[in-house]
């Protein structure tokens, strides 16, 4: 359960960005969470909503999370695939040398402000 620390770090960045841009209110916060980032999306939403109450500037904001799938490119046969399981054997040739393309994101992309 480290989603609370993640939410706290996220909120720090949101408030900092909003203040630097002289925004009065933050309405939406867009984040990308890869399936490999070890984040439970429901827990992150819960933690965000709990902590935001303490700050006037983000109190009415909504967190919008993009759940990014795991995709990778096999270094042996070159096939690009989506991985449901986190066991990275290439679905086409079976090789383990799969270079990850997406799935490790733990980023804030933009915020909507008033």
């Amino acid at each position: 359960m480290h989603e609370a620390s993640i939410a706290a770090s996220l909120i720090e960045i949101v408030i900092d960005t909003a203040e630097k841009n002289k925004a009065e209110k933050v309405t939406k916060v867009f984040v990308k969470i890869g399936r490999l980032a070890a984040i439970e999306i429901d827990s992150l939403e819960f933690a965000y909503d709990a902590i935001k109450e303490e700050y006037e500037i983000i109190k009415d904001s909504e967190i919008i999370i993009e759940d990014v799938p795991i995709t990778g490119k096999c270094q042996k046969c070159g096939v690009t695939d989506t991985y449901e399981e986190m066991f990275f054997a290439c679905g086409a040739c079976g090789a383990f040398e799969v270079e990850l393309l997406t799935g490790e994101e733990l980023t804030i992309t933009e915020i909507e402000v008033d």
Binding site: H2, A23, L36, E110, I111
Partner: protein
């Protein structure tokens, strides 16, 4: 109403603190030991560190929610230890290591960080280490690497501990290694028992190799 571009890592602050630490650790090999609770991390350290403690300047940072039990165990072997109690937190953050280093000082050849027992959360928090060493015991089930793949993905080496119990538990070593390599083909694998002593010299040699690699880097 307007959009503001941010494009930042959510854990940016932890990364930048870890980067400062990494800079200060330029002559210190730092290994971050991670596992579920009870896998035997402290036991391995008790047995292995004494093999070379007189050759190097070394210290251990112990992370637990409560008690100084682990630091006391390490200190009893004659190795300096510093206990961090995380309270409610399930992982160590770079700032915890920074505080520990203020006490221990950076003049070290080797720093071992024994993280809070947890195979999920510590995977996301960079502590400025050179490598994450994952410990898994044979009582835990051989499919742990695919149940907790994120940690196995970011680890550098993997110790299967308590091999003395293999006759009594359903644990297929080859299957476990196969799963681990499927998640991370680069993992260096060790098999160890603190009861019989199996594999402990290999782990000591691995750590000494890491110290030498850091010195020559």
């Amino acid at each position: 109403m307007g959009m503001v571009d941010v494009k930042a890592k959510i854990l940016e602050k932890n990364y930048s603190k870890a980067a400062v630490l990494r800079d200060k650790f330029k002559n210190t090999c730092v290994l971050n030991f991670v596992s579920s609770p009870g896998s035997g991390k402290t036991s391995i350290l008790e047995k292995v560190l004494v093999m070379f403690k007189d050759k190097y300047k070394l210290a251990v940072v112990e992370g637990d929610q409560q008690t100084t039990n682990d630091a006391d165990r390490i200190e009893a072997t004659g190795v300096t230890a510093y206990q961090v109690n995380t309270g409610r937190a399930c992982h160590l953050e770079a700032t915890d290591v920074e505080k520990a280093m203020a006490e221990l000082g950076y003049d070290l050849d080797l720093l071992i960080i024994e993280n809070v027992g947890n195979l999920v959360c510590p995977s996301q928090f960079d502590l400025g280490e050179d490598a994450k060493v994952i410990v898994l015991s044979t009582t835990e089930g051989d499919d742990k690497p695919i149940k907790y793949p994120v940690m196995f993905r970011v680890g550098s080496s993997f110790i299967i501990n308590k091999t003395d119990l293999l006759p009594y538990v359903e644990f297929d070593v080859d299957k476990c290694i196969g799963y681990a390599k499927g998640v991370n083909p680069e993992l260096e694998v060790f098999q160890a028992s603190c009861k019989t002593g199996e594999g402990l010299e290999e782990i000591a040699a691995y750590i000494e190799g890491m110290i030498a690699k850091k010195k020559n880097a």
